[in-house]
Symmetry: C4
Subunit: 342 residues, 4 copies
């Protein structure tokens, strides 16, 4: 749906390219650009290697990164090193720990989360939600009951770092954001539909392995709140929250649109993974290209920093317009809301 979003070119941006400063603060640290490489679990034998590649590139380019789900490390301590390596390499950047929301219903609490955090000396912990994927897993009997809210509310109070509620490719909607906000969640990573589809992944896996659910996964492979819509919904439902716009972000222009739509930071997983398998240098180059594109978009809309990008005029058309209207959101009011705390 990023095709349904246009930024408005300013022939006289009112600044020089070199003036632009897209650095931002995230989790108390300054990063060179509002970018985070979203948490990813690789194949386990690979995991340590990929994490160190990502950490190397992220530290060098000065952006944030998340690690993939640390459940494995909490359960099998011999795998901890594959996560711990991250902080040894990436000393200065924000690192985000990661755990699945369902674990919070299966006994995990403050202790386990603190362990995950300390494993990478994390600046925040992402609690990822993936009901759409779990439901298609062979023996998935996913539990996402509202008791999660109670647990979340408790851990938020006890942990030393913020909790980021993070989707994994099917997006956050107003209703969910409102519920989470009420129990104190202040950081959201929307990870909307339009990028990596875990439902599609389960469909392929299931078909290969003869899991009957694959036929149903096929029906739902386009399911989810599109990223552009999800950023708008999240900002409307939690005007003062910190929002990571993500899911299908592929270049700095998408990134700039996400920021203009109301995100504070943009996240990417798959494209980072694709570059990372070629090595830290390839990933570094990808990130630098992305940053350059973000700066170009800033320059051409006349925004000297991220705060400005978040106030830049927006053109919303086609299906995204219908989506927003259907959801009762008033785009003319949105310009005042979307900049968040900026």
């Amino acid at each position: 749906m990023f095709d349904d979003v246009d930024l408005v070119h300013q022939a006289l941006p009112g600044l020089s390219f070199e003036e632009i400063d897209i650095s931002t603060n995230f989790l108390g640290k300054k990063i060179s650009a509002p970018i985070v490489i979203s948490g990813m679990t690789g194949g386990t034998e690979e995991l340590g290697r990929l994490n160190s590649i990502i950490a190397t590139a992220a530290e060098k380019t000065g952006i944030a990164m998340g690690v993939g789900s640390q459940r494995v490390a909490l359960e099998r301590s011999e795998t901890r090193e594959s996560f711990a390596v991250v902080r040894r390499i990436a000393r200065d950047i924000p690192v985000i720990a990661n755990i699945g929301a369902p674990q919070l219903l299966r006994g995990y609490g403050v202790r386990e989360l603190e362990e995950a955090i300390s494993m990478v000396e994390a600046d925040a912990i992402a609690v990822h939600f993936n009901p759409a994927q779990e439901v298609f897993q062979p023996e998935g009997e996913p539990d996402y009951s509202d008791r999660l809210l109670t647990v979340l509310s408790e851990v938020i109070k006890s942990l030393g770092v913020p909790v980021i509620v993070k989707e994994t490719g099917t997006g956050l909607a107003m209703e969910t954001v409102s519920k989470l906000r009420r129990v104190g969640v202040t950081h959201f990573d929307v990870q909307g539909a339009g990028g990596t589809s875990w439902v599609a992944v389960e469909m392929f896996r299931g078909r290969r392995r003869g899991n009957w659910k694959w036929r149903s996964a096929d029906v739902f492979k386009g399911w989810g709140v599109p990223t552009a819509a999800s950023i708008i919904e999240t900002r409307f439902a939690a005007p003062d929250s910190f929002i990571i716009g993500s899911g299908g972000i592929r270049n700095g222009l998408d990134g700039a649109k996400a920021l203009a739509l109301g995100a504070d930071l943009v996240g990417m997983a798959l494209p980072a993974m694709r570059a990372a398998v070629k090595g830290a240098e390839a990933l570094g180059e990808f990130v630098e290209d992305f940053k350059f594109q973000l700066k170009v978009a800033s320059f051409l809309v006349g925004a000297k920093d991220v705060r400005d990008i978040k106030k830049t005029p927006l053109v919303i058309s086609g299906k995204l317009r219908d989506w927003v209207t259907s959801r009762g959101l008033d785009l003319s009011v949105y310009t005042k809301v979307r900049a968040g705390r900026a």
Copy 2:
């Protein structure tokens, strides 16, 4: 037009998958899911066999079923067994008798309908309307005059079971629903455009057999109120009625959209037929897949039962939005109307 409808994913559904209960009450009986296999007449030699296959699968999976037009059985008693077999197999589920509306103008009355009902110990009788098909049949001189309303009003009062007014693939519109409602019809099966097109069938038949009407059937093959629009129109015109959403429903996600649009139950014919020709097991599997998909959609929008699905947020876009606007219907009001008696 189901592409113009989106349900909204909730990352925190607020329930566990196993909690979801999509069972519902239909015609005084509890069924495992809000699904009915719509009435179909097969080739006559096949009829009994297909009806027993459908009955077997429906009974096993605990959903409702209709039989095809029973006119043949009323006129040639030797064919009654091919219908009667249904109730012998399907003892517990709602079974719907079926008769064509035009017969009510050609002499059928309470007696004939009661005979059709008792033949399958039916819980309701569907009176099917197919003016669009009849008009293209070789010697069709279809009669759908308003005298039908008088006859309907009478049989509704006299019969022991509800009468369901059922289209056959070109949908119900507000104006028709209003007229029917005024004479006491409380059950509607919309069978809108977008699935099986009987006009297209008559076009192919006519071309093969040299019926001059085939050229005209070709012109009308896309005719009809699309199912999504038809559900909305029916619910607006008869807010407190029982509505079956049907016509082109192909999987449980379509089904969930139909329920969210205002249907109480969803119906299918062709896909059930396609599975049935492979046997009761294949049909059973199809139904179980459908139920699973319906549960997945419920889960992912955070609906613990059918009542909740009917209140879930909806995104309406494209041509469906234009349709509804053209018809003077206010979508912002609709959210209050669509849940019906739920």
Copy 3:
């Protein structure tokens, strides 16, 4: 743009097919259906033969017909017979004489028009407007100055039969209709864009013959007010006028849409020509198919006659909706306007 118009199927039309009577009055005569075969000049050697074919079929099927431009007959009397044949064959139906609007600025007046009328004992005379074609003709220096209004106003007062202002494939717009109405024009034949394009014809001709204007004709080949929009514009600008909906009408469903949009009659040229070259029987069959389709549409929307079709609900979507909105026309009001004098 007929794709942007939907009629609304009524499962209970409230009538029997045989009850439907699509006969109508046109120019004081009763015709079997609201259809006119628009005036066409063929190749001159062919002209008489085609006119007699069309006359034969029109008389037999009981619809109206127009003849092509009679200028040739007014200027070369030996060609008169090719027109006069029409009335000898078609004794009972409305026949429309035809003359080009530019002739009214080049000296033609009441006398010439009366001659054209008496040549075919016409019930009306069409004054055709084709500025878009003329402009691309080799030596075209088209004159369509407002003096035409004065001449029209005079002939309207003096002639014994109505004058029909007729476009030839690029449509009538509100502004033009308003001007014409003010000088007393009461009959309009919109002939909008979407069917035969004379600009395209001139493009092909010009390219073949080396006329430099062909490149420009190519640019304008889609030019014109689309028929659906043109009917709406004409009805808005002249609510009480008699409107022929035409231009790209290809079957009775298009025809029914044209009537529902506000036309009193529908016209066709090219498809009639295509059938006519095969003979009167082929043309008769085409007309009967068209009438059947018109009756089918009437039946399925529950309209027992043309008057009812003109009040039937309409769905307007896509570009046609944008057109009408851009033109400041309020569709919600239109339902009251469109039926005209019906």
Copy 4:
């Protein structure tokens, strides 16, 4: 986006073709049509030849022309002749000098601009803005700071001829126009997106030459305010300014739409270049075709001159409609605004 604009055909234009006079005044001179060939730098060895071809054709057809950037001539005097030739050939028409906006920040002032003007005895000087291109040039560190406004304001006061602010293919937006208007800019050449894309050119160049920025140029190749939108934005922001509609204008129908949207003149670069490489005659023919098309459009909407075209009804649909709505512009008001000073 010109596909989203329709002019409205008038079957009775109320004028004769020969009456139409599309001549207009531009920079105090009368030209035969509201057309300017936009400034273009060719390959330097070619430059003089192309400029003399364009000058020959422009003078002969009586339209305006601009020269390409004169920076080279200001810096290397031996190249001046390649510009000066223009005025020697084109004695009577408006000629526009050309300089890049960034030069105004790098030391150019009244003196240099006067030199550029006198070099071609220019009637105006275009200051071109191309931040989108510069940003992708190998060592581009583009400076478009607001100090440009101060410099512009000064030169506007001191120069004897008007300054035209001209984009180069990515368009002018309201915000930029407002800023420029406040410092006294009264002439705008929108050069919007939809025609020649300099970003695409830099992408191809960069890929060939191994400039890493090519990947990012690829991302931005569709960037810019579409010409149709840009004309509307400029007119809204500077209602009384003189506006050249340009960028992707390819024929006289596009041209007429640009005028109807609010432009006072239309400009073209690439198509003129394509014709010019075949010689002055080919370019002359192209211009005459364009003028004919402009006259045809005028004729068919019933506009006897440019002033009338600017008031002709407009149909705005699709994405352009969404663009305008998103930008908070009210199309119903626009009809009053767009004609500018006309």
